[in-house]
Amino acid sequence: MNRRDAGKERLGSKLLALFWTIFTISATANSGYAILAVMQDEFVKKRAWFSENQMADNIAIVQSTPGAMAVNASMVVGYQVAGLLGSLVAVLGCILPPIVVMIVVTCFYEAIVGNELVRLFMRGMQLGVVGMLLNVVVSLFVNVTKDGLAYPVVLMALAFTYVHFLGWPIPYLAIGCAMAGIAKTLLVSKGVRRR
């Protein structure tokens, strides 16, 4: 009985931490991507709910799916923390602030859009988001290059050119990257067998 209570309590406090972390970033940051930085910091570094590598895998899965990145990330991370209930709580934390804020803002559109102080504050936070995202990119880069530099760097350069300069559709890129991974496995295992 006691142990069950303790388990329940742990789950409760986990769900609360999950909800609160996602809620606060969703209620403040202007870019959905900011959520990745906060998840890395709170769930990986501080609480050690999963490893840096698991978080990097999560980011890859989320980026291969359409829709709001922050919501998808909440879905996967919530699931890892506490199953489907965790997903539900995390997604709720993610969508509640924008819904409420947009409803309020639409009602007081003129007063808020014209407000210089709000604009300056939000613009300043955007500068912070640039710093946050740079940190996410750096930590992901360290993660993918830990087993060799050549393959990831070439693939990243190709993918960046594809997305940023060519602006081509991402689903094909995701499929292409997955196939590159499969091809690499087949080629490497063939090489090992030959030796």
């Binding site: 209620a27 990745l36 924008p98 409803i103 639409t106 912070g128 990243m156």
Partner: protein
């Protein structure tokens, strides 16, 4: 009720094709709300772009809520948000289950490394656009003071998070505050 179902379906359609974050999503929502459904004019939709700059949250959810709210009030806002998350949430879960099933195999490891490379490219692309938008808010090169100030704030934010292990949220709020104070006190910056 028919209108609410229409909203849900419209945003389901948008969400399935919205790959690659905010910059990809806005034109899709615009096309659906203005051209396909005729729910609002381009001018009304332009309000949304102004709002997105100053409101928190994922941009797809923001724009869905905005359009839903304009079309059918609070129920519309909720319908639009649900419509835009249902399919992506299901897809991401399916993908995650598939990944869990084969996790640890050499094949899956290589696929994940490749997809992580793609994720880096996507985030870096967003990063470049965000940095450019922050550096040149009106599309022109800023004054020297203004430009240096922007770079210093961005650099300090990165330094605090990366080297000093300070949590991203307070750093971001701090940047907002610094910008508010700096730009109100020193008109040169604004």
């Amino acid at each position: 009720m028919t209108l609410l179902i229409g909203i849900v379906l419209a945003f389901m359609r948008v969400s399935v094709i919205a790959f690659g974050g905010a910059y990809a999503a806005i034109p899709l929502v615009e096309n659906e709300a203005v051209a396909v459904q005729g729910w609002m004019t381009y001018e009304q939709f332009a309000d949304l772009v102004a709002l997105d700059e100053i409101t928190p949250g994922p941009i797809i959810i923001n724009s869905a809520t905005f359009v839903g709210m304009r079309v059918a009030g609070i129920p519309g806002a909720i319908a639009a948000t649900l419509g835009s998350i249902l399919i992506p949430c299901t897809l991401v879960m399916l993908l995650y289950r598939l990944y869990s099933r084969f996790k640890g195999s050499a094949m899956m490891d290589n696929v994940m490394v490749s997809l992580k490379c793609m994720a880096i490219a996507l985030i870096a692309s967003t990063l470049v656009r965000l940095a450019a938008a922050a550096f040149m808010p009106d599309g022109n090169l800023p004054s020297i003071t203004r430009g240096c100030y922007t770079i210093v704030v961005m650099g300090t934010a990165f330094f605090l998070i990366h080297n000093r292990q300070i949590s991203p949220l307070p750093v971001m709020l701090g940047c907002g505050l610094v910008n508010l104070v700096a730009c109100s006190l020193l008109p040169l910056m604004a």
